[in-house]
Amino acid sequence: MLELLWLIPALPFAGFLTLALFGQKLHEKSIAVTGVGFIGLSAALAILVSASFISSPPQGYFYTQTLWTWMQVGGFSPKISFYLDALSMIMMVVVAFVGFLIHLYSIGYMKGDEGYSRFFAYMNLFVGSMLTLLLAEDLLLLYLGWEGVGLCSYLLIGFWYKDSANGRAAIKAFIVTRIGDASMAVGLFLLFTSLGTLSIQGLMNLASQRWPVGAPLAVASAALLLGGAVGKSAQLPLQTWLPDAMAGPTPVSALIHAATMVTAGVYLIARTHILFTLAPPVQTAVAVIGAVTLLIAGFSALTQRDIKRVLAYSTISQIGYMFLALGVGAWSAAIFHFMTHAFFKALLFLGTGVVILALNQEHDIFKMGGLRNELPLTFWTFLIGSASLSALPLITAGFYSKDLILWQALSSERGGVWLWAAGFLGAFITSIYTFRIFFLTFSGSATSQVSRKPGVLMTIPLVVLAVLSLIGGFIELPETLGNSRLLSNFLQTALPPLQAVTTDYSTQGSLQFITSVVSLIGIIFAYRYFLHSPQHTGRRENIMKNPVAYAVHCFLFKGWNFDLLYDTFLVRPFLWAARTNRNDFVDLIYRGMAAICRASNTVLSFTQSGKVRWYATGIALGIVILVGIVEIL
């Protein structure tokens, strides 16, 4: 069974090729069958392979499948080979399965779009690249998948390219992530020159043998890889592209910009965790970046009017939690949160897609409302997703994963009160902004007609994801509540366990209680201010009358003015320099040479008078002068 591993990334690529070559000639129905079918096969295969991996684990809990040697240049011979272990298996299953559900949903969502086959072709290419990224045994192959998902992200953000704003958003996403990718590429060069291989397992072994903890080379290469992860996962300071990336179709936001691609950075750090353990300052930086990002993005999410932008900031914030977990060495907690986040965030985005379709592409939450009776199923699934995102205690998956991160941020030897406090405050904000959009969307009376209701194909993914958002957390229960450690025990075959300094269950229990209360308070807070009623609107307007509150609101609405900052200090100086140097000053040299040639030509062309006698005179004089010179010498 494990030998079929290569088919899992290969099938989506086959789907992409089929659609890219013949998509124009196919009918909508056959496009949907092709596009979804290949992903479905891939997902089914991923589940089968995982089942066989779990039931009869190979020696050492990993399986490597080498297909061929990619190239051979001197001592550099990267291979096309796939590596399956606990970490990549969980990521693979989640990506393939959630990807399949979102493809299923897209059949209905994209119905009637003129780019129907293009959409499915890009989506298949994306899933193929993402699976390549996850299963790659070699950092170079991982980088191929990494750039592949970046390309698909660009193509899909600008999917409706006729609106130039979408094109600009796509370019912004591409350029901002490119900064990170460049850093990662340099990191790969550094790793190869210092250790002589790019095979991940080989690198990790060599690194732990040759480099002591805190070795400068380890710190440098970990920092460079972190640069790549920060770009892809939209963390501070490269987070600005993700909110704009919402210009793409909603299933794209669900799949690429929430559930899978943006967590590639988390995967990269977890995959190379040995390197990060060797570089304690970088690992601390990971935790701090995560903590700061989760707060910054959470506060911004509080003020957005566009429902998808709220969810985008929420995604940045939740990935911040994962970075926080990685930074304190809680590797399996980060992967746990990745998994639950993939479920509930995909669910929220798909629910949002239904709402947006129903209201004729309306994105403004203040113009929504009253959808509870119109879209009952969406209402319930959205409620479950919101509850899971706000970590409603005991029944939701989000509670267990977030709680694990918070507890381990406090109890890890690399953690601390400050990191915990940031996560704690973040949890409070999360429940406010989540239920803010929930109440504004579904409460009150209907403001506009529902133009389109979701079909069966769009409903199934919602229900499945809602169920997973509830029960997905039960595979890992804390010591205080059941103490089931299925996930972390399994992940321990690939990732080291947490180095905890405290294991005080009573503290853990009381902290869990406080966190739960705080998330409930957040929901009540949202209930007080964000219902669709004149009374609530009045309350909001009263707050806005305070100039300070209004200024803060604007500041947060613009995402802490990061765009303005980059615009002022990077984009505009660059554009100014480009404009000033429109006639590139280096060209002066070459243009000067051309000018000299032309001037000499003008001068010399006077001598070509067309008068034969003058030529004869010239020849005679020349001979006289030459002979004279020879005589003198």
């Binding site: 070509q608 008068k611 034969v612 006698r613 005679a620």
Partner: protein
Amino acid sequence: MTAAVPLHHGLIVAGILFAVGLLGLLVRRNVIFILLSIEIMLNAAGLAFVVAGSKWGQVDGQIMFIFVLTMAAAEVSVGLALVLQLYHHTKTLDADSANKMRG
């Protein structure tokens, strides 16, 4: 037996002939006269060869003169053909009027 002409006399005559030819080439505008002047210069060179050949008692100078003659005949035939063409195009034999290829 006449006394041998001294070498430098012959060379001076050749030099004068050459200078006359060159001067004619430079100052005359009629193409026919320019061709004539070239002939004079060629003959001046031929005379120098013959004089030098007799000085050293070698036949090489006279052989070279034969070459110069054949070359001159060829040159004149081409030159006269060009003159005909020039006249055909410009209705004049003025060399300065054929200056269409000036820069």
